[in-house]
């Protein structure tokens, strides 16, 4: 045992999962991004420094800014680099609320769908608890969709009291794609700033900032083949959030903090590739997830596919089910033991799964919300992944049902 005392070699677990179907949580970094990051990590230079080394690093960041802008059809000056999606969402929601408040204290209402990621939900809740904001939760239908009419109804008779509207481009749990251009148009009828969290959509769907009409848009690197730790908030000209992070004045004084040139370069490289491969990849993933859905429903006839039907209204790699009589965490554990990685798709407290707020907002009851499982496919997914799930899902659901009754 002497040699193994360090603990590192003593792994009894399989070294890695064999079948990774949790790309919506994070997806493997593409080799091109790894190469770019590695090359950049070997360099010295703070992008804010004035000397040659600094200018070199700054050039890397600015080239990345142009690539990111091109990838989502925005202007380079509209790209504000952040540490990722959560920071960008916080900056958008809090920063734009504060900016609106400064202009007109009557603008207290913040409208967001009830199926937003917690980075938006909890930012809104925080504003309500600390800054006097009034949250307005926008209702979604049984597939997770918000309609322009429902948004109009919520804005109601008093659009002048609305500070901000935030609607995610595509849902991380059930894959619902929102009609962002229609919704942003409704917001603009009333002069209300519109933010969209496009973390799941970017790289999978044609996400165009200019065409969408959104004033602010969140993207992050690690969902599209880049590293964790780099993302961006796109801000249309004239949209100026109050900063959350103060300091050296980087990123036009909107987001202070030394720029992580290596991660930003990896993010931009991956984003560019994802967009280049997007159409082929989306078709490939749609076929794979269609196959997965067919296999699961054949093996477990009472499995319920949550979210919209497969097609343009759904993220191509998303397959989300409720298995009646099962606990999602039991299913996850049994699949994990078979080398299959997936997700219950819900937030955690000390690792404890809460029933998904997304499914509850879609009208599911608590057992259905608790008994749900998300499979999400991505660039490294193959037919073998889908077949592996198909081969064991009946047995796993059967076991989890017995445990559910225990």
């Amino acid at each position: 045992m002497a040699e193994t005392d360090s603990g590192h070699e003593r792994l009894r677990q399989p070294p890695a999962c064999q079948f990774y179907l949790d790309h919506a949580a994070t997806t493997p970094v593409v080799p091109e991004a790894i190469a770019a990051i590695s090359e950049e990590l070997a360099q010295v230079g703070n992008p804010s420094s004035l000397h040659n080394a600094g200018r070199r690093a700054r050039r890397v960041v600015e080239e990345a800014r142009e690539q990111v802008a091109e990838a989502c059809r925005a202007r380079p000056s509209e790209v504000i680099f952040t540490s990722g999606g959560t920071e960008a969402d916080n900056l958008a929601v809090k920063g734009l609320y504060w900016a609106q408040q400064a202009e007109d204290p009557r603008r207290r209402r913040v409208l967001a769908t009830a199926v937003e990621h917690h980075a938006v939900l909890d930012s809104v809740e925080w504003l309500a608890g600390h800054e006097g904001a009034e949250p307005g939760w926008l209702p979604v239908d049984g597939t997770g969709l918000l309609t322009a009419d429902a948004l109009r109804e919520q804005i109601g008779a008093d659009p002048g009291s609305v500070a901000l509207i935030s609607v995610m481009w595509a849902n991380n749990e059930v894959g619902t794609v929102q009609p962002i251009a229609d919704l942003a148009a409704v917001a603009h009828e009333h002069g209300i700033p519109f933010h969209t969290d496009a973390v799941q959509a970017a790289g999978q769907l044609p996400v165009g900032f200019a065409g969408s009409g959104a004033d602010a848009l969140t993207v992050t690197g690690h969902k599209l083949g880049g590293p964790v730790g780099a993302g961006a908030l796109l801000l249309a000209r004239g949209t100026l959030p109050v900063p959350v992070l103060h300091g050296g004045g980087q990123e036009s004084d909107i987001r202070s903090g030394t720029l992580d040139a290596a991660a930003i370069r990896g993010f931009a490289t991956a984003f560019q590739l994802a967009v280049k491969r997007r159409d082929d990849e989306a078709a490939r993933l749609a076929a794979l997830s269609g196959d997965l859905i067919g296999r699961v429903q054949a093996a477990v006839p009472d499995a319920v596919l949550n979210g919209p039907p497969p097609g343009p209204g759904r993220l191509p790699g998303n397959a989300h089910f409720s298995f009646p009589g099962c606990e999602g965490d039991a299913l996850l554990m049994l699949l994990d033991a078979k080398g299959i990685a997936c997700s219950t798709g819900s937030a955690c407290t000390a690792g404890v799964a809460q029933p998904s707020h997304v499914l509850l907002a879609m009208g599911a009851d608590e057992p259905r919300a608790r008994g749900s499982l998300r499979f999400s496919l991505g660039h490294s997914s193959t037919r073998a992944d889908v077949e592996a799930v198909g081969a064991v899902i009946a047995e796993v659901v059967d076991r989890a049902r017995r445990a559910g009754r225990a």
Partner: protein
């Protein structure tokens, strides 16, 4: 030895970590599970301690990492609240003094968790309890100071058949040394005391919040009112401190809680001698892994966790156990378990429902003539 699929309950403490490691070393296929027992887990930053903190979940996870086993958190907050916390409060409301660890073993670890584990395909549940299983029979740990056979004595033979106590032959010091040698960061983590769901250790305030104020009289053995209290649930038979009685005893000797009458909220206090108990009635007997004996059993009985053992004769009948002690025991509280031993071997247990100084026929501890 048969290679089993073992679910190791990992609290985040040193004992359960070493137990899981030993089960894995023995060749079993071990999966670590931390039981989340509080709906609102606290962190040390908020001043909490006990076994329900986020840090404990993290410690358990890190131990599983070092051992090299898969790890999950199971949410049992609802079951724990129903079966342990509510029971704890209800028992105090009845004037009893419950043992929540025992109830947790009976209803959570070796019931809710075990049932779920078996349904999921596991063969056994492994814990870090200090107790030995010898041919399926529960025995004391060789470390008498840490022995936990008392809080396991409520388990049936069926439950014990699916239990694994890998620390059975070890002392706590050995366990800590082994944890350090294995590189487990919890090696020097302090032992947990107190009731895990009362992180500040203030049981009386916890009960006051749960049950509200229920003022009542404190009387002496003659029936004279000598004080008032805010709730009879704040007292335990045998308690001396915190009586806050203004009038001293006529003989100047210390006085103890002798009896708690929950309906009127009357707490009776008196001299130490009045605490002497010779006969005990206990309900819901469990015979650990053996059929109920037909007649009286000579044994040694333990009446609280880490309490003394008393030579006794226990006689089952009518769903109860009547226990006669060879010499008086002091401060016997209803609601505690009476655990029967034959040497180190656990024979069974039952919940104390009545304790008297004299023959069982006499219903009250003492009358005006006493």
């Amino acid at each position: 030895m048969r290679r089993m699929r073992v679910l190791a309950a990992m609290s985040g403490g040193v004992d359960s970590a070493v137990a899981a490691a030993r089960a894995a070393d023995a060749g079993h296929e071990v999966t670590g599970v931390h039981l989340a027992l509080s709906a609102n887990p606290q962190s040390y930053r908020s001043g909490a301690r006990g076994c329900c903190t986020l840090e404990d979940a993290r410690d358990a996870r890190r131990a599983a990492d070092v051992i090299g086993i898969p790890f999950y958190v199971w949410d049992l907050a609802e079951r724990f609240h129903q079966d342990v916390v509510s029971d704890f409060v209800a028992e105090y409301a009845r004037g009893r003094t419950p043992n929540p660890c025992l109830r947790c073993n009976e209803k959570i670890k070796f019931a809710a968790v075990l049932d779920r584990a078996v349904a999921l395909g596991f063969d056994a549940v492994c814990t870090g309890h200090h107790a030995r299983l010898v041919d399926g029979a529960l025995h004391r740990s060789p470390d008498r100071g840490k022995d936990q056979s008392y809080v396991l004595a409520v388990l049936t033979g069926g439950q014990l058949a699916r239990a694994l106590f890998p620390l059975g032959d070890s002392t706590k010091d050995q366990v800590r040394a082994e944890a350090a040698a294995r590189g487990l960061a919890v090696a020097d983590k302090p032992d947990s005391h107190d009731v895990c769901f009362i992180p500040d250790g203030d049981t009386r305030s916890f009960l006051a919040r749960a049950l509200g104020a229920a003022p009542g009289p404190i009387v002496d053995t003659g029936g004279a009112v000598v004080g008032r209290h805010d709730g009879a649930y704040g007292f335990t038979v045998g308690q001396r401190k915190g009586l806050r009685v203004g009038t001293p005893a006529p003989d100047g000797k210390p006085r103890y809680v002798l009896d708690i009458e929950p309906v009127s909220g009357t707490v009776t206090i008196g001299p130490a001698e009045e605490l002497d108990v010779m006969r005990i009635v206990a309900e819901r007997p469990v015979w650990t892994g053996r059929p109920a004996p037909a007649g009286p059993v000579e044994c040694q009985v333990q009446l609280r966790a880490h309490g003394d053992v008393h030579p006794a004769v226990a006689e089952p009948g009518g769903g109860e156990l009547r226990i006669s002690l060879a010499r008086p025991a002091r401060g016997v509280a209803t609601g505690q378990a009476a655990v029967l031993y034959d040497g180190d071997r656990v024979l069974g247990s039952a919940t104390i429902s009545a304790a008297t100084g004299g023959p069982l026929a006499r219903p009250a501890r003492r009358g005006p003539a006493a």
